[in-house]
């Protein structure tokens, strides 16, 4: 495999095929948990772990799994890794786990994960699948972190807990509510497309 192709496999998920800004997948966690930078980041990391782990497993097993039961098999593998993540979060970072609430186990239904297995991991060798899922994961983290930072900044004038706007800033409650999520996401998608020069 050429280095060029490897870089392409990895980078496409971050920019050209960004799961949130371009493919508009995984909207449920994207809108629901990005009330602050730390929430967005931890959700992104958890999802990336599941994405990479199940991508590796499925790509390694792709020749053994019969076509007719592939989706069921993918679901067993994905949900196992999600349960592992959920238990580890509860055991080691209970604060964040209670912040994310039901959205942590709901990673199972994240369509980025099943989508990558179906479109990529189940057809490609382990190495390429690893790069692909890492790229998509980083792209997802990038999107959630940006969205989380924007919402946190406009809600309470902080990013990641650090005060950026002074005490003069009057908090915009709407930013931590669903409406604020939709507004900031749509503006970010527009901005992203402007920057990347696509229509």
């Amino acid at each position: 495999m050429k280095v060029n192709e490897m870089i392409k496999d990895f980078v496409k998920g971050i920019w050209k095929e960004n799961p949130v800004f371009v493919q508009v997948l995984g909207m449920c966690p994207t809108l629901a948990v990005t009330t602050s930078l730390i929430n967005g980041l931890s959700m992104g990391l958890a999802t990336t772990f599941v994405l990479v782990a199940s991508g590796l497993a499925i790509s390694a097993l792709r020749k053994l799994i019969p076509d007719q039961v592939r989706i069921a098999s993918f679901m067993i593998i994905i949900s196992s890794f999600v349960t592992v993540v959920k238990l580890l979060f509860e055991a080691h970072i209970p604060e964040i786990s209670s912040q994310l609430g039901p959205y942590l186990p709901l990673i199972v239904t994240n369509c980025i994960i099943l989508g990558r297995q179906e479109a990529f991991a189940s057809k490609e060798p382990v190495g390429r699948s690893l790069l692909d899922s890492l790229g998509m994961g980083v792209g997802f983290i990038f999107a959630l972190v940006v969205l989380g930072s924007v919402r946190e900044l406009f809600y309470q004038g902080t990013i990641g807990g650090f005060e950026l706007l002074g005490s003069w800033y009057k908090s915009m409650v709407i930013m931590v509510q669903p409406a604020g999520a939709f507004i900031s996401l749509s503006l970010l998608v527009a901005l992203f497309h402007k920057l990347s020069g696509s229509e």
Partner: protein, 185 residues
């Protein structure tokens, strides 16, 4: 091997591996999760009845009541958990009361999924501190916009339902604890 047998075998093996792996992980995480919950409860007791130095867990008539003691081993109050419906989902509280059950020492939110930015403010200091040292003859009262009088607290603007829910949960819990301990009204 025919197709069906292969399909059944694949799913069975995957299920077995997954079940085995998950039970290993849960064996490892279970004690940690339990410990975290215990820790959170402990911190809540110390927070609601201040200055607690040690406490004892007592179960009376099926209700767990924490007896809080200060540094010279005097009983300075009780703490108990109470829960009920909020605006969204269940709210669970830890409530601290004085030894005569007529003063609230403090409250802490153990669990809530109220709307962030509105009802979520019940977790905030300004709301919780209203309960510190609140004298309660019969029950906690709630006012919307007027100044809070004796035994009353002020509702959060835009979150009357959540504030009302917290007050109702406290009153119900207080009633129960009063009848169990057989003191107060």
């Amino acid at each position: 091997m025919n197709k069906i047998a292969k399909m059944v075998l694949t799913l069975t093996v995957l299920g077995l591996i997954s079940g085995f792996a998950l039970s290993m992980v849960s064996n490892y995480t279970d004690p940690l999760i339990k410990q975290n919950k215990q820790e959170a409860l402990r911190e809540a007791v110390y927070y609601v009845v201040q200055p607690t130095e040690s406490y004892q867990e007592e179960t009376e008539k099926g209700k767990v009541i924490y007896e809080a003691y200060n540094s010279s081993d005097e009983l300075i109050g009780y703490a108990f958990t109470a829960s009920g419906g909020g605006y969204q989902g269940t709210i669970r509280l830890m409530v601290g009361v004085g030894p005569n059950l007529k003063q609230i020492k403090g409250i802490q939110i153990l669990e809530s999924s109220e709307t962030p930015g509105l009802g979520g403010k019940i977790r905030g200091k300004p709301f919780k501190s209203q309960f510190r040292g609140l004298q309660v003859e019969r029950e906690v009262g709630l006012v919307k916009s007027a100044e809070a009088g004796k035994g009353e607290i002020q509702a959060i603007t835009g979150a009357t339902i959540s504030s009302r829910a917290v007050v109702n949960i406290i009153n119900k819990g207080l009633d129960q604890v009063r009848s169990i301990l057989g003191e107060g009204e």
